[in-house]
Symmetry: D2
């Protein structure tokens, strides 16, 4: 099938390269046109609008910044919905809120098209290595037809049932990841303050039961004071915000997550939005 | 050297067995005498008081519940201090507060003895398997003389400098462990509430960047609703309390840890003190 | 001018009675028709739809549960917007989020009508006594024409500038009120737990610098265990949620408010939604 | 009776002046001798040690910084205990932890003396005006003999039963005061960030149900950016710390108070320790 791709950010760009590497023909559209030139070294066809891209493709995948960007791409002039119809499918790899996923499905189905919610978890490095996790929900037939695409960009994909379950899973997972990252930051801020040596701390962490890829990456970034973004602080804060809003709808208290969310907001307030999420260390240590 | 051991709780008992398995001659004292019969299958000599134990041994190790128990063992009638003097050494494997460690060193040195602070990190299983972590500080010569003892009970030991650094390290590590355990509990409480299936969640966690021995153990305990203690909720809350008190002395804010500590306190208030720390899930899910 | 009123909840009903008492002719519409019979003792004309009410009146005031109810009343079939146009004014007394207020103004202006945002602060008792506070913003001329209406229902009204400033003010005030109510609850939970007598505590509070109408009402409700709603727990939690969402847009950390919001959510989770906000005591004391 | 006074800090100095104004003969001791010259304008006799002061007086009142200072004054060389015995009474106006109060009573009784725990609540202004609140517990006969002293320094005193109840009451009250102060700071930080005018906010607060002497003082200090200490940030944080430690002993969760305590710690970390507690605004607004 002819694959379209919307959203050439850091993650999206890496996904397109992996799709091509795995033998897919990929056409693209991006809001900022100049981004398309960055991918001129590979054989992609660039379209002038989401509507044109949908017309030319069977399945269009999108990887965007947030729900607002998704709604714009769907509903704006020359947007996805203008060409949506039977035989057309839209697969949203963006982490959105439950309401946005549900609205998108509703509109696309009404137009006769197919919708799959497929948010991903992972870092920039995972995107480049094709080792993301995909948490899909919605049209199961469409999920199956995406198998080869998903294999190109992820180490594993899950089909979780009706629309909303992908978002619910990815937000639950993000809550845990965001909290662990913050826990490492706060623990290291304490260790620093009381005079523990960095090398000792790293060594202990790497031998303890809490050691994981995430704990290792975060602790090394903090010690190196290298906050080049693998997963931006503003991105993980956005996920926390949606997790907390989802919990609000279900009257689920989240004392810890709420506290963690405020630390990331403090990070944003300190100008750390575009740094790696490990930069929350700067917010905890002051 | 003749090794003495004070404190035959779950962890202490496992340590004594490992010391004997590695060829050490071990004498013991325990406040509750009946506990000594549990270890009657191996060759240990039981003494009637800490003072008698110290008289008969070169190095006495202690693994107790909290700083109050340590002070009692040191300073009570027929306590450690009554036999302390040149040629005698006291190695405290208990996690205490910085002040208690510092006081103990001061008194023992004044009496002509040697002191090593050596708190451990790990679960009941680690104690049984001899795979704890030891964070030692104080008398470096004594640390070296403890090498074979430490090899019997731990997978790795660290020497971290002057007294207080062991406690500082173990409390920083406990803060991170306690927070991660709580993060998993809160994330799973959210997932449950919004209708995510347990099997799916476990699978996603095990493939994600946050996967660690700790995350795995906690998430499996929660799904199995099996809260048999590996590391009791009251124990980890005690560590959090000391970490926060230490931070207070240094004016280090710990927004997340303070929130986590209150969750564990809620757990204690709900009667979960002696269950595994993963039982904090019950406090988050209500 | 002919006054219309939408929303005969506890607060709205009291407002209508005060408007009539002050000599206004009031017509009404309510979603649940039966509510209109509760006010049959006074001279109000009941209309069949918001659209008909707007047609018959110059100024329509609304006092609804939340932004969803406001949007429904504005945009549903036979809604306010169908009769909106030159010479018609809509005054929203509901506490909404900033976005809803801004959208409402935009649509009403486009239709040629006038809009005033006028959220209120106060309890059921204040509504009955006509002693609410009104925080208005938007069309200043319309604000002036509402003077006699506002005098009927409030002890004071403020004009705060462009649309959004009423919401911003009322949410900032709600954050403070919600936090104070929770502080009293948590302080009294602690006092109870440690064996302080209720009568002593009330006496001390009433003589201390923190004494206010709010502290007095909350502490007396807790001691009497009488949680008949003056301002419902779910209502104050909704305000906290919007305050926190507003803060999110501005990257303003709110560590304390986030913690308080989770306490109210815990209250909702425990089934306390429709009780008075002082019932958060039950969530803090367990 | 001959009155002794220990502790010529801001609050203590004001107390001594009020005692003299009400006709009491007062002798004093202060660690920093130079402080005694500040009170040379009134007729006080200065002693060289706590022990000498106790020898010369019937009742010695103390108003000190914290439990450490109390213990020093009691137990150091030439301390209170050296002259303590039948006919001698010690009244502690300091806010301490429950353990310190209990230890002090125990030692003083053993020596044959009398002890009253009498922590106060209020600001520097209250101390000057003699309008503090006194929360006394312990020896009831001694409490009665202190009546005229307490009338000189307070607007009201309470007798609350056995030792510990004064501390429990004052810590519960401090928790509420500290939280309200922080709520005002956080609400005003939000209002500022979203563009609400200071004059409007002050006006709304003064007319709302939350208005109190505390809310008024805090909000005015914040708007004037005048953080001259009435009650220092470090002092209120110390009280929060003891309230939280007391709650820990009783397994009482304090989610809000823990969050508030961290804000004050952040304030201390930012160098605001000696400013008024309203300066916590600076910690919330960053």
């Amino acid at each position: 099938s002819r694959i379209g791709f919307i959203g050439l950010g850091t993650i999206g760009m890496a996904m397109v390269r992996n799709l091509i590497k795995h033998g897919h023909k990929v056409s693209v559209w991006n809001k900022t046109v100049s981004k398309c030139t960055e991918i001129a070294d590979v054989d992609v066809k660039v379209y002038d609008s989401p509507a044109q891209l949908v017309s030319a493709c069977d399945i269009v995948l999108a990887c965007l910044a947030d729900p607002f960007a998704v709604k714009e791409v769907l509903f704006c002039q020359n947007g996805v919905m203008e060409s949506m119809g039977p035989g057309k499918a839209f697969v949203d790899l963006t982490t959105v809120d439950v309401e946005t996923a549900s609205d998108a499905e509703c509109q696309i189905k009404r137009a006769g098209g197919e919708y799959l919610e497929a948010p991903v978890s992972g870092t920039k490095k995972d995107a480049v290595n094709g080792t993301l996790l995909i948490m899909a929900a919605g049209n199961e037939d469409l999920y199956k037809r995406c198998t080869s695409c998903f294999q190109a960009i992820s180490k594993k994909s899950y089909y979780l049932g009706s629309v909303g379950h992908g978002t619910r899973m990815v937000l639950s997972l993000s809550l845990i990841n965001a909290s662990i990252n913050c826990a490492v930051a706060e623990g290291m801020a304490l260790a620093d303050r009381v005079g523990i040596k960095h090398a000792d701390l790293l060594d202990v962490l790497s031998n303890s039961a809490c050691n994981s890829q995430l704990v290792s990456t975060t602790s090394k970034a903090i010690i190196a004071k290298n906050f080049t973004s693998q997963l931006s602080l503003k991105h993980i804060q956005k996920d926390m915000k949606y997790a907390i809003e989802m919990a609000d709808m279900y009257d689920q208290p989240l004392h810890m997550a709420a506290s963690v969310n405020e630390m990331y907001k403090r990070g944003k307030s300190l100008g750390l939005s575009n740094l790696d999420m490990s930069a929350v260390y700067k917010a905890t240590s002051k």
